[in-house]
Amino acid sequence: MRIDIRDIHKHYGSTRANNGITLTVKPGTIHGILGENGAGKSTLMKILSGYIRKTSGKILVNGSVCDYHTPAQAAKLGIGMLYQEPLDFPPLTVLDNFMAGQTRGIKNQKDFFRKKFESLVDHFNFTLNADGAVEKLTIGERQQLEILRLLALGTEGLILDEPTTGISREQKESLFQALKKLASEGKSVLLVSHKLQDAETLCDTVTVLREGVVTGSVDQPYDAGAILEMMFGVLPGTPSRSAVEYGETVLSMKQVYGSGGRTGLSNCTTSIRQGEMVGLAGLGGSGQEVFLRLAGGIKKPSMGSIELLGEEVQGKNLHAFKKDGVVFLPASRLEEGLMPGLNITEHFALQDQGDGLFVKWHEASGTAQAKIKKFRVMGTPESAVESLSGGNQQRLLLSLLSKDSKLLLLEQPTRGLDVESANWVWWHLHKYCLRKTSVVFSSSDLDEILMVADRVIVFFDGRIVKDVKKDETDIDELTRAIVGKAQ
């Protein structure tokens, strides 16, 4: 399928998300769309998939102008999109998700669709069980399901919006293999990403967007420096690190069991020392998130003992954890971290509540202003937090943390952030380490963990299968450990 995008504009009020974008996707190729957060990639893709309407411009499919404005119409033309947040139905089964939107009428067509589904699963070597519940799947598996569903609809032009965010290395490889297969079958694939590596390993052509316009289009082989310059204007630096001396043990767990997530956490024994930066690796939902929540006092262990600064935490509530300087930042910033509906000043007012009957608005707005400047949050004290971009939400969350925190527990702190924002986050967290704060974070990106952590703990199926210093391991060993093949 050949897709020509001609001079697409999308305006939201005075904001121009897309400002005259023109590009061509050739049949049988994988076309990368690169750009940092807010460059207009997702907007363009949602227009192409019929999910949102364009302000002006033309889309040509196989040479003829097509005017469509719903996903259903796009699907008829053969265009399907895998959205950044999976648009599926978690409480329903895999097969029900696969069928929804494809079946009509009153007749139960489960057998027909089961056959179709299973043959597609075999074709791509995926491991999906038709009768499992989608809420038990990892993000990577949910993507696989969605891709199969789109293909079953007869999709010839497949759009993937940030598909490599939040999935394991192995899932990424299986995804890339599937995409290569699709391209070799003559289908066109559009891959949206803010990660240069993805484009380098997969794409035949890359188009770079910045602030709603195309800043360049290049073919293999790529000059990474040139692409980065197209993305950012200036090259972002990598975070620098200096050695940190470790202090006493901050957190120690002995044979801890906990429930929740896909696998729960079983028989976890480990300890974290002051000033350590520890990366938690593993497939999504292998026990990392339970570990972080137990350590942060959000969840109670069903067995075992947890000690904070040498003191048993049994029977302590969340408030006591907070007093001890333990902080947990969840992956879903807006749902669990911030309070949508309140603005930045109100967040600080809530944070620094003193005694007294009245809110000290003057102080709060002063603090907000200072922190916005210091943490370079793109917003005003009056900005509602849900209007901030993901990177700015993370900066705001970090700005709300107390300076004398003893233990920072972060769940995927750079999820969905572009390189520049991520580097800033790591630089900021490193400063905490220098002040003897321990930082424990989970990440689905092994390269990132190896870049910033001092020590790596690998989780598999709810257990710790590897716990090593960064210098004593390499990416292959960790990759094996993640899928349960640690020696």
Partner: protein
């Protein structure tokens, strides 16, 4: 009535549960599609009044039922239109409608108060009603009873075995994803809100033409809507479990009447009120065994997990939220 007879007890539970069962099934359908119709209590009264007046004037009971279903569907349609097309809060609109339809029912029905009207006759089902015990309990009733029994199975089959039912459940979970798949959330929500409303209307008609024949103020149907709303939650948004809840509630009410006779020294009000706290207590127990820790304790026992699994029921994810396209 002081003599205890299990057959009569169960038969009166099956008959007495019908209005609450119909209303609960209707609301389950509506909520499964993501719309909360809080106007239940008022719309039951309005449809009860409609059914009685129409049946009285036309002499046709069937006409009464049809018009009552229409009235229930209309009230539900108002809630749905305000939510889907005008982006208003379902809760607020539902509450106001509850009060409005109740007063409307009393006002319009006033001339028909305490009149002797038609009521549904008993139609034992040939052959089936001759089966000992079962025949007496299930097949020696009026047609609304048979309808309600049929609808339990039909609702389940439709929701879980047909493509249309899949769409219905999908819309309640994630309207956005439905839109992306070419299913129109607005149309589906509208359709099932109206369907559920029609069920509620039938519930009202069953009251005034069958369970407590006649019209007056109070009619006797007051409060049923609220119980039905609670039973939907009790049933975990599953039609069969909701039906079990409705029968349990009816059973508690009927047994209360027996207890009144057995313990005349206890004030009658105690037995009238008792079903309500008992339902809450049951809910508490169900939720307790659903808790993660309880499932943990079941450990490796697969059969325990599957039992606990069937007991659990989460609300449709998008329940009560107005869907706005991006």
């Amino acid at each position: 009535m002081s003599e205890f007879n299990l057959t009569i007890l169960l038969a009166s539970v099956v008959a007495g549960a019908v209005p609450i069962l119909l209303a609960t099934l209707g609301e389950t359908i509506t909520e499964k599609a993501g719309i909360i119709n809080l106007s239940l209590d008022g719309s039951i009264l309005l449809s009860a009044m409609t059914a009685f007046v129409v049946a009285y004037e036309t002499g046709s009971i069937l006409m009464g039922f049809a018009c009552a279903a229409l009235a229930g569907a209309l009230v539900a349609a108002v809630v749905a239109v305000f939510s889907i097309y005008l982006n208003q809060s379902q809760v607020a609109v539902g509450f106001v409608l509850t009060l409005m339809t109740r007063d409307l029912a009393y006002f319009l029905g006033n001339p028909y108060s305490r009149l002797q009207g038609p009521s549904v006759l008993q139609h034992p089902i040939p052959l089936l009603s001759d089966i000992p015990f079962i025949g007496e309990v299930f097949f020696n009733h009026t047609f609304p009873v048979y309808l309600s029994l049929l609808l339990i199975g039909l609702c389940w089959w439709y929701m879980y075995r047909t493509p249309q039912g899949l769409n219905l459940r999908a819309v309640g979970e994630n309207p956005r994803a439905c839109f992306a798949r070419g299913i129109s959330p607005a149309k589906i929500q509208m359709f099932y809100a109206v369907c559920g409303g029609a069920f509620v209307g039938l519930a009202g008609a069953t009251f005034s033409l069958c369970t407590k024949p006649g019209w007056g103020r109070p009619q006797g149907a007051e409060g049923t809507g609220w119980i039905a709303l609670a039973l939907v939650i009790f049933g975990g948004w599953h039609p069969v479990r909701a039906a079990v809840g409705a029968y349990l509630f009816a059973f508690l009410q009927v047994i209360g009447i027996y207890f009144q006779n057995w313990f005349p020294s206890v004030p009658a009000q105690v037995f009238q009120v008792a079903p309500f706290p008992l339902m809450i207590f049951t809910l508490l127990i169900i939720n307790f065994v659903q808790k993660e820790s309880a499932i943990d304790r079941a450990g490796g026992k697969a059969w325990m997990k599957s039992i606990l699994g069937t007991l659990s029921g989460a609300p449709p994810t998008a329940l009560g939220k107005s869907y706005r396209p991006d």
